[in-house]
């Protein structure tokens, strides 16, 4: 298996890009990634596009060919990868496999989501497609609602208060305030979070990742390509692992853990030869505050029912035990669904190369976790600084 390196990346600011289309966003991120990697898009052997809802929200599928055309490289191997909200993590996984297999030496991997062309009820309808359409979406459940079921169950099972879980939002906003491409770069108080409108009880508006547009892209290459191009890569992909779980909550024995996170993390830690304590910085998929807490547990940083304590006790701050979501996380950096997993890897790349907006002191190993549905798919990607 070939070693896989991240040469560089680029992202768009996340937000309501009224004047930019799906392709505009992707092209912008891809061109930035190429520029930051000192490479020409013409050198790409393949393009991987992560996206969840272009069909539903844009009436556009066949993103591989579309983006290849708009990047000026028609003819390249190109394909869309979809795994609901984990599309970004999953597309990175597929691009990684392509280079690791030795089939391609240099690929562009990106994620894009254009959500704000649709109104909220249509976005809500698109997002619930992450679960079983026939037996979950049929009930009228929203995606927020499914997470609310987990949230309430978690609070009742472990006797945890909402104010302790909602802190995750305050944490995210604190760091987003300093992130130039974050959708909501400002701080919020816990009171503000807890007094925001209910979306799906007990989940409140300020506990939910927002709806936004954005794209992120990375250039991956093999050792051979780097050598032949005279490039000294700074960051290596130490592991990329993907696992699934039942698509719906009804089939789960434990509602408070995402088994796919546990499985993917185990595989990734093993492949990378690391343990949770070796992770210097990470980005977790906190589409809702409760998920942030659960991820801290499932990734091995806290016992079940105690993840919230890490947040409350400052253990996920920039200069503490496990710096988490220094980008602002899904809540405040934003969550352009199919792009998010790629943003996360880009953010870990920034941390490992010392270029992050909220830079940790010294980072050797970083982790990015991407979640699709209510944990139906989880991708754990681990990057390591090349020594």
């Amino acid at each position: 298996m070939e070693k896989v390196f991240v040469l560089g990346g680029g992202v768009t600011k996340i937000g309501e890009h009224w004047s930019k289309s799906l392709r505009d966003l992707f092209v912008e991120a891809a061109l930035k990634a190429a520029k930051n990697s000192n490479i020409e898009l013409r050198d790409m052997e393949a393009v991987y596009v992560g996206n969840m809802s272009s069909g539903e929200l844009q009436g556009q599928e066949h993103l591989g060919s579309l983006m290849a055309t708009w990047l000026g490289i028609p003819g390249v191997a190109a394909v869309k990868v979809e795994a609901a909200c984990a599309s970004g993590g999953a597309v990175f996984h597929q691009a990684y496999l392509a280079v690791a297999s030795g089939v391609y030496d240099c690929v562009l991997v990106g994620g894009v989501e254009k959500m704000t062309d649709a109104v909220v009820h249509d976005v809500t309808a698109a997002l619930i497609m992450a679960d079983d359409a026939e037996y979950t979406a049929f009930t009228g459940a929203s995606f927020v609602g499914l997470n609310a079921l987990v949230y309430r169950y978690y609070m009742e099972k472990y006797g945890v208060k909402q104010e302790d879980i909602a802190l995750f939002s305050v944490h995210d906003h604190k760091y987003a305030a300093n992130n130039p491409y974050a959708q909501y770069p400002f701080q919020v108080s816990l009171e503000k979070v807890l007094s925001s409108p209910l979306i799906a009880d007990p989940i409140r508006l300020f506990e939910c990742a927002p709806i936004g547009d954005g794209a992120a892209a990375l250039i991956l290459c093999s050792e051979r390509f780097a050598k032949e191009s005279g490039i000294k890569p700074e960051v290596e992909v130490a592991a990329s692992a993907l696992a699934t779980d039942t698509i719906s909550l009804v089939d789960r024995d434990d509602l408070t853990t995402l088994a796919a996170t546990v499985k993917a993390a185990k595989k990734a830690y093993k492949k990378a030869g690391v343990e949770p304590r070796d992770i210097d910085v990470m980005e977790v998929h906190d589409a809702f505050t409760i998920l942030g807490v659960i991820h801290l547990e499932d990734l091995g940083f806290a016992e079940k029912g105690k993840g919230w304590r890490l947040v409350k006790e400052g253990e996920i701050e920039k200069d503490s035990k496990i710096p988490t979501n220094l980008s602002g996380g899904l809540k405040a950096r934003g969550h352009p669904v199919g792009a998010t997993g790629v943003y996360q890897v880009y953010e870990i790349y920034q941390q490992l190369t010392g270029t992050a907006p909220n830079q940790v002191g010294k980072a050797e190993v970083g982790l990015a976790q991407s979640v699709g549905g209510v944990g139906g798919t989880v991708v754990v990607n681990i990057l390591r600084r090349v020594r």
Binding site: T124, A125, I128, M129, A141, L149, R152, Y153, L198, I203
Partner: protein
């Protein structure tokens, strides 16, 4: 636009499962699933038998949908609950005839046949099972 493309055959195909709550039981690990499966989601066994599910259960968790998907605006806000039926099978369904502040985790509920959605003003009506506090 909506939850899924309006389709008549799709609703017709599912009617018996949704009207009568059919499920399956794994002969190997004992897991009972709704809807019926060909393979057990817990152990992967293909040794499954179709069964009729009990019409009573208890609420494991619930939420109130205040920002509904397109197609459900008429009913919003409504309650969605994860219900454990008397034989252990779990089902996601709406609670009806009950106010959010009357719902508690653990409360007993019974199945009732109700409307779920309509395919527009002139399209077909989709029915299914919801749950409510028992009449008696």
């Amino acid at each position: 636009m909506g939850i899924s493309a309006p389709s008549v055959p799709r609703v017709w195909r599912e009617r018996i499962i949704k009207y009568r709550l059919l499920g399956s039981k794994c002969a190997d690990c004992g897991k009972i699933s709704y809807p019926p499966r060909k393979a057990c989601p817990r152990c992967g066994s293909t040794n499954l038998v179709e069964i009729s599910l009990p019409k009573r259960g208890k609420v494991l968790s619930y939420t109130v949908i205040r920002t509904p998907p397109r197609g459900y605006l008429k009913y919003s806000p409504y309650i969605i609950a994860l219900i454990e039926l008397e034989n252990g099978a779990r089902i996601l369904a709406q609670l009806t005839d009950v106010d959010p502040d009357e719902v508690k985790s653990g409360m007993v509920v019974e199945a009732v046949f109700r409307r779920y959605r309509e395919q527009g003003e002139d399209g077909i009506i989709e029915y299914g099972i919801k749950f409510r506090p028992p009449i008696t």
